[in-house]
Symmetry: D2
Subunit: 471 residues, 4 copies
Amino acid sequence: MYTLITGGTVVNATGSSRADVLIEDEKIAAVLEPGSNILGTAFLAGIDRVIDATGKYVIPGGIDAHTHMEMPFGGTFASDTFETGTRAAAWGGTTTIIDFAVQYAGEDVLTQFARWHEKAAGKCAIDYAFHQIIGGVNDVSLAAMDTLIDEGVSSFKLFMAYKDVFLSDDGQIVQAMQTASHNGGLLMMHAENGSVIDLLQKQALERGETDPVYHGLTRPWQTEEEATYRAIRLAELTGAPLYVVHVSAKQAAMRIAEARDTGQNVFGETCPQYLWLSLEDQLGAPGFEGSKWVCSTPLRPKAHGHQDHMWTSLRTNDLQLVSTDHCPFCMKGQKELGLGDFTKIPNGIGSVEHRLDLIYQGVVTGKISLERWVEICCTTPARMFGMYGKKGVLQPGADADVVVYDPQGKTNISAQTHHMNLDYSAWEGWEIDGHVDTVVSRGLVVVDDGEYFGHAGHGQYIKRGLSQYLI
Amino acid sequence: MYTLITGGTVVNATGSSRADVLIEDEKIAAVLEPGSNILGTAFLAGIDRVIDATGKYVIPGGIDAHTHMEMPFGGTFASDTFETGTRAAAWGGTTTIIDFAVQYAGEDVLTQFARWHEKAAGKCAIDYAFHQIIGGVNDVSLAAMDTLIDEGVSSFKLFMAYKDVFLSDDGQIVQAMQTASHNGGLLMMHAENGSVIDLLQKQALERGETDPVYHGLTRPWQTEEEATYRAIRLAELTGAPLYVVHVSAKQAAMRIAEARDTGQNVFGETCPQYLWLSLEDQLGAPGFEGSKWVCSTPLRPKAHGHQDHMWTSLRTNDLQLVSTDHCPFCMKGQKELGLGDFTKIPNGIGSVEHRLDLIYQGVVTGKISLERWVEICCTTPARMFGMYGKKGVLQPGADADVVVYDPQGKTNISAQTHHMNLDYSAWEGWEIDGHVDTVVSRGLVVVDDGEYFGHAGHGQYIKRGLSQYLI
Amino acid sequence: MYTLITGGTVVNATGSSRADVLIEDEKIAAVLEPGSNILGTAFLAGIDRVIDATGKYVIPGGIDAHTHMEMPFGGTFASDTFETGTRAAAWGGTTTIIDFAVQYAGEDVLTQFARWHEKAAGKCAIDYAFHQIIGGVNDVSLAAMDTLIDEGVSSFKLFMAYKDVFLSDDGQIVQAMQTASHNGGLLMMHAENGSVIDLLQKQALERGETDPVYHGLTRPWQTEEEATYRAIRLAELTGAPLYVVHVSAKQAAMRIAEARDTGQNVFGETCPQYLWLSLEDQLGAPGFEGSKWVCSTPLRPKAHGHQDHMWTSLRTNDLQLVSTDHCPFCMKGQKELGLGDFTKIPNGIGSVEHRLDLIYQGVVTGKISLERWVEICCTTPARMFGMYGKKGVLQPGADADVVVYDPQGKTNISAQTHHMNLDYSAWEGWEIDGHVDTVVSRGLVVVDDGEYFGHAGHGQYIKRGLSQYLI
Amino acid sequence: MYTLITGGTVVNATGSSRADVLIEDEKIAAVLEPGSNILGTAFLAGIDRVIDATGKYVIPGGIDAHTHMEMPFGGTFASDTFETGTRAAAWGGTTTIIDFAVQYAGEDVLTQFARWHEKAAGKCAIDYAFHQIIGGVNDVSLAAMDTLIDEGVSSFKLFMAYKDVFLSDDGQIVQAMQTASHNGGLLMMHAENGSVIDLLQKQALERGETDPVYHGLTRPWQTEEEATYRAIRLAELTGAPLYVVHVSAKQAAMRIAEARDTGQNVFGETCPQYLWLSLEDQLGAPGFEGSKWVCSTPLRPKAHGHQDHMWTSLRTNDLQLVSTDHCPFCMKGQKELGLGDFTKIPNGIGSVEHRLDLIYQGVVTGKISLERWVEICCTTPARMFGMYGKKGVLQPGADADVVVYDPQGKTNISAQTHHMNLDYSAWEGWEIDGHVDTVVSRGLVVVDDGEYFGHAGHGQYIKRGLSQYLI
Ligand SMILES: [Zn+2]
Ligand SMILES: [Zn+2]
Ligand SMILES: [Zn+2]
Ligand SMILES: [Zn+2]
Ligand SMILES: [Zn+2]
Ligand SMILES: [Zn+2]
Ligand SMILES: [Zn+2]
Ligand SMILES: [Zn+2]
């Protein structure tokens, strides 16, 4: 079966050009001069489906490298299942997610990994892969890291916060890094100083400071910057590559930039909320409204320029990619748990559906280039996490994950219309000057012209290789 | 006419994959799955030439963004003409050069530009473009910068050294930068503090220090770093993008990295000689031997780690590309002019033939990745200087400039065998663990299997657009 | 003849304590426990004068290391002569000035030095010394630097601005630094990029921007920072110690701090105007009013925190002392020369009378400590410029230069009441929460209780030694 | 009773001068011009003791701000008691120590403080004060910090290493810093990442690496630098002043310098061993010999320039003072505990007797100035820890703690001749080009011409005030 996407402008990480993309079954077969007659009239006549991309961008399917579908947290679960979450992702032009399998302290890593496989199997609309959270570093979990590499899991996330749940102490971090430096894995780090945050939270509650804004005020930039720097230094000590998740403080981004200047393999992602939203405008909204934007690291004051610096860091490649950290909790029954005590608000924002759009708006407003949009949303995630070639690029042999994006279209974001299982939108009322028109996942058109043609189970598990981004 | 390069591994800036490349006349028509049958048997049978690239790399033709063919300097001329120089370049897999049209102080820019066009017209084996050296900033030359943009010259080189010949003072530099910040041009800078160097040279000669090594010792890293920093600061003041040529001091590279960390459009190139050669081993060779490696900026002490730092900067993208600064002078009759007075040695090294090979050796020895090799030698030069799409990438619609590179081959460099018009080699005796097998220039096979099929005049002038690399 | 200052708190650079100071003729004879009976009743009865300093601070006489009495500039002369200027200094508790002998380009250094000696001889109310401005670096002036060391002039000021008047190019700067690194002299630098400023001024005038505020806007912080960094780097290259005069830009101060962190002998002074005044409030005053505050380096925007950073740098000893750069020009007949063309406004502010008071106000407002006030106004100037022991400290054997300062007093600054020969005050209306009560110069009470007892010719020339502050 | 020190050169932190010092009972009564006749013949005749300091330096008595007399550690006790240790200190010109009262985790702070008072009472040859180690931060110990301020203890030491013994986690550190930022106390920090060190030690032992050199190799500079930076950042977060003890890694010193550049109250001490000794030459000595130099932080490789950088930092005042961290353990019965397991070697070196001499050798060899020697050994310790005026300076009213130091003398260091209770010397065979001739403690000559005249119980407890060094 052949599909031809014709007339569009193919955008990749280094530039863009007019070209046609020919899909054979689940793979890209060729990239061709537009209107080329080399295929022959007969062949062209036999093509099953022609997608007219005239005036539109043709890009590799988006890869969201940081999601938490149905993740258990604080007695509740992230509201999107693998089914609802991947369907919403598809709607937004994301054709691969990397979700986090979770080992809490005390659990067995491989058992947990198997459990996550069970959750996802047969449910996903798009392809999926796993990182593994290591909530308890010990000899068994360290050994499991080697096993997981063979299972296609080449990245391992540790936490410097959330004591007794996820937190690894510095010695444990060094052990995991030593393991990664030997087996080629990539160490991902939630870099916040949990010990200090726990204290500041306790003190805030004692002072009667219970509103959502205190979530941000008890996680000052110093707690992120210090932890980021510590992680970088320990990575340097062990020779392990390091990937810092959800960077939001400009000072943390500066530390990452410094480390890279010395040639260290240190990388960082940021998320749409740290690019567009702020402590003043969203987290500090009156009453309990701010709970919608409680996530960690927190939204930061725009008065101090954190958001601008995130955009600059994306431009300079001091941050390498944008993920969503999709971890949705409904207001009703979930966020509400933190009424009267901000520390009980489940942490997370749901954006898996809107990443491509929200970052494209940065192209529209001159913050990044068109090519950089593709690089940070599609190409680098594939390279960083060992899927490039199969994913992240439009070239012969690659999976036919393709998005046709219309720069003349418009997208209005609202809980009324979004496809995530979430009773509010963190982006309610946002208008995007662009639109995801058509989404192809491994050759299957799953979204086209506002209609959904995908199905649970189409998505396959991706065994990832080692990072292709190390220097 | 069709040519098919088949069975190879196509390498681009972000990754590599098995793919066939189909050329129609002077352009790439398609990139296809290897062994694909979509073209049909009839079409395949009619292909004029099939190049078997099995086991080899297929990459975009190299772009050498810094050459000085037949440049007048100190009463003599660089020994390669456009004819001999571009032919040698082709032998080495370079299919485009950007040469420098020269306005010396007192001359008219546009007259000089026309003169350079005359020199090159009908002589070149491969495509060529021009930067313009502005040796005398004044109202006329500033106005000429606007004209030249329309002529396809979007980059302008100033000098902070060579008083009364090239040197612009800081006020003149600011004027040129103001012009560039308005017309979109890219300011290139030879960043050495000429005033200090002139003094140190005079003092050295007064002390009887006349050997070639004093060329290096009178240009200490401080003279490069200071000038680099000054250029960066003036660029920041004016908003102009800046490209620092032939970076050799690690401290200068650090300044560039710092500026980029703040989001400034500051870029830097280095050259093969600053990656592999040193003041101790080459420039400091006994007697007059060291004159072979007299170039500016000079070779630097490896004891201080400059060379290692250049590689690191290439890895981290704090330096963006590698050019040769090809400016060959024969020992006999040219370098000899400086016997007994190192300041009279013509400055320059001839490497235009060896750039791809010498940097590939960095892949072999683990200094950079295969993709980065292509990026810094082919793709970024095209993007930096406004030729991407036409050059620098293997995609439909691009010029069919292609190199088939054999990682199993060997290349021995020697004046006995090289094709540059130069009576010695700066790289005599170097062995490269790779080999340029086939070179295609705009669809024409110019080199294949050790034979040359090109001709003077095949190369065309490229009108370049504005830089596609600005952030 | 004996004078006893009794009951006060002696403040020095490291701390303060209650102590009496006994003066014998022109020197300090002893520092004693207050009320000590070791002197014996007979001796005490024979003391000629007792100054009651109860409740007051007793400090070494102030040293203003940067003044320009009757300096020729732009066709006019600074309005204070050595007679009027030193008398005003005495009123304000300054008992030593270091003025600048001036060699303009084309003049002979030693001839000029002799001329300055003539101007000052027999005129000064307080002791005085000279720095030498070298406006024309050449073999003769370099040789003169050695001679001047023997004459008690151990510091030499160069300029990176004022082309054809004062400006030295970088090669000349290096020559002077080489000389200083051999003879032990201290290189002082006016660090502004004159070439860029000249251009920006010309462009501003062409745009019809003629008001005083453009004096500041055409000397942006980059012109100061760049020049400061360049001077630091050249000093590093030559091994010469460097003292940057009138630092006003925070970025320049940061460069000095960085250099000191590496152990380089780099120092900086700032002036009261850069601590308290700003481009917005003073230089940008409506109409021609701003001309009162035209000085170079210029007042800088407080919105960018320059003034705060100057205070911080004084606290951290990244700037070492405060001088006035006293260079007064009257509004009438002098500043007026620049009506309609800000580049013709004579550059300078008159503050020699108010330095101790203005910096003491920083103690009152918590910006620096009491000890630091004495250190930056009295002790470090003596050490920096080779007079310590004789000046800058209250200890036996030192010159009896003493100020009794009343922290309960008040000082109102106004052109109506000041003693400088200046028809306006840059500090009109300022109230200081302290007061200079008594000033002793080499044993002579020159000011006491609002009356002046000094006389022209009391002040002697101080032959200075080499800097005592180098590390 | 009167004592007159005559004919010497009085050296203080800013300079030196010829002066006589008159002592009345326990205090300094006057500093006088040498040979002054103001005292009168009769008075002079009645002076009880005249000390001829001709050709010698007269300096304030040394203050060793970091000692551990008879400290319990790992089942044994530091071998010097308050009696033997303070006597040895006196021999070396130190007239005040600040020792550490110790709260181990689980103990009560005030009880422990009282215990330390008991140990010292009636035993000391010279004056003494206390810092308090807080080994267990909790509400009781935080409250005790306020009480201790009133008891003359204004500095509190925490540890980032030594789990279950001393270590505070980051939240505890923040709590203690919050307390200090309110009560004016100074937070002292043992800055090493204990969690990482514990792991590296365990891994080393598992590999059979048991020799003393592994003590250094398992505490790489990263563990010190990271902890130092973390402490600085937490201090910045809380507004507390911070004093980092025993800095030995150049990278840690750089972090301190950076923090000071921003105006933060961050200080650091180093110790003689980090200035003169190294991992290669001492700690790495063959066999068990290296155990003599096992201390924490460890001796560092001189190949990496740590020692040079410590000297530079002292010059630039990025480190403020030199203490000994005197914590002696005999080879026999104590260091031996670690035979076959370096982690069991008691940590510490005994130097309390040699600090003035060892740092004076830095003056002789041109590393620091004479004045800086006095500043870092005598004056700044007094200012830093709230004793200035009474201690640290030669001025009327100050305690008569005076050392006459002979720059023509020689001192040979050896366990044969030293006065510490220690069966070896870390400095065996060192020759110092200077000699402590006479030591006066609160008016009593305790050492003179190689004889000891002091006695246990002469030393008094000093109630210290708040730091006088904060900016
Ligand atoms: Zn996280
Ligand atoms: Zn997450
Ligand atoms: Zn050049
Ligand atoms: Zn060149
Ligand atoms: Zn000046
Ligand atoms: Zn001046
Ligand atoms: Zn310690
Ligand atoms: Zn200690």
